[in-house]
Assembly symmetry: none
Homo-oligomer: 163 residues x 2
DNA sequence: CATAATATTCCATTATAATCCATTTTAGTC
DNA sequence: GACTAAAATGGATTATAATGGAATATTATG
């Protein structure tokens, strides 16, 4: 039934809390009973996933202790996911509290307007200007990829796969 | 269920003690009854692991006596883990005392603010400035890796996996 | 134009964190 | 061996921050 779609403009209150739209709240309560995980992305936004989605993301790591003892790269990976993730719950009134460190990281200030963006498996909270830049970046990438695909279609021998 | 996550800003008291957040204390008491091992990392921070996690880290070392007799590299490894680790316990009020030598190593001074960082298998205590640098380092690495992945997505032949 | 629903702001209550104080233990010196 | 001094540990109190709820206002739909 098409969960976690669309874009909403929302405001963060003075205490760093965000009121989610009834549609988004319904998507979360249906999937995980309101238990979610917030995660800071390298792209500079805060992702919010149902808990089970996040656990699936991290399930790949086996024997973490042994690897951590010997590898700085592995420790950095654990540190990144540990420090940049936090379990939270959606309140009865459909609000979530964004941890202070995450707000600073994502430039989501109390009292500011943000974009709540559906990403099919969850949502992302974006600073308004960063979201505009990200749209440009996504479109530019897709356009460039399309141009290359068109150019490749001109070459002989490729015609079977392309309609 | 998603232990040792997030970042907390905490202050070290005049006696070098640190009050842990109730969430972190609960994670430790659930895992090991409050018996922990402190360990100085090469990154310049103090890690605190449940005792069983630390034992798992060191379990790989088989026949240590025989290897120690013949290898300076191995002796150095044993020496590092020995000197840089110390068993401690979390007090009834959720406080831990950081050994003096560890405090100096990690630049965690009595009366200063530190970051308590979740790393999924335990926590790390970071000097504030060092933690800011470490975040920059992790983000720069993730950003560079992402850029290379995006560039690779433009190349022909990759299209199957990336839809 | 009116009514209903959703959103935002403000206030009150609860919980958490930090500082300060007291008691106990250990070490050193006489 | 005993006494004194210093340091540390445990506990309690006060202050600040956060969370939850309620009320009012605005927007949308009928």
């Amino acid at each position: 039934m098409l969960s976690f779609c669309g874009q909403d403009r929302c405001s963060v209150d003075a205490n760093g809390r965000l009121k989610l739209s009834p549609k988004v709240v319904a998507d979360f309560t249906g999937k995980c009973g309101g238990q979610v995980v917030m995660h800071c992305l390298p792209e500079g936004a805060i992702a919010i996933y149902p808990e089970e989605i996040y656990l699936e993301m991290r399930r790949q790591e086996t024997l973490p202790a042994a690897k951590a003892a010997n590898s700085m790269v592995f420790r950095r990976s654990m540190r990144r996911f540990g420090a940049m993730s936090s379990p939270e719950s959606i309140s009865n009134q459909g609000r979530v509290t964004l941890p202070q460190a995450f707000r600073e990281y994502a430039a989501v200030n109390p009292g500011s307007e943000v974009f709540v963006v559906g990403v099919e498996i969850g949502i992302e909270i974006w600073n308004t200007e960063r979201w505009a830049e990200e749209i440009d970046r996504m479109n530019e990438h897709a356009r460039e990829k399309g141009e290359r695909e068109m150019a490749a279609d001109l070459l002989p021998g490729d015609n079977i796969s392309n309609n």
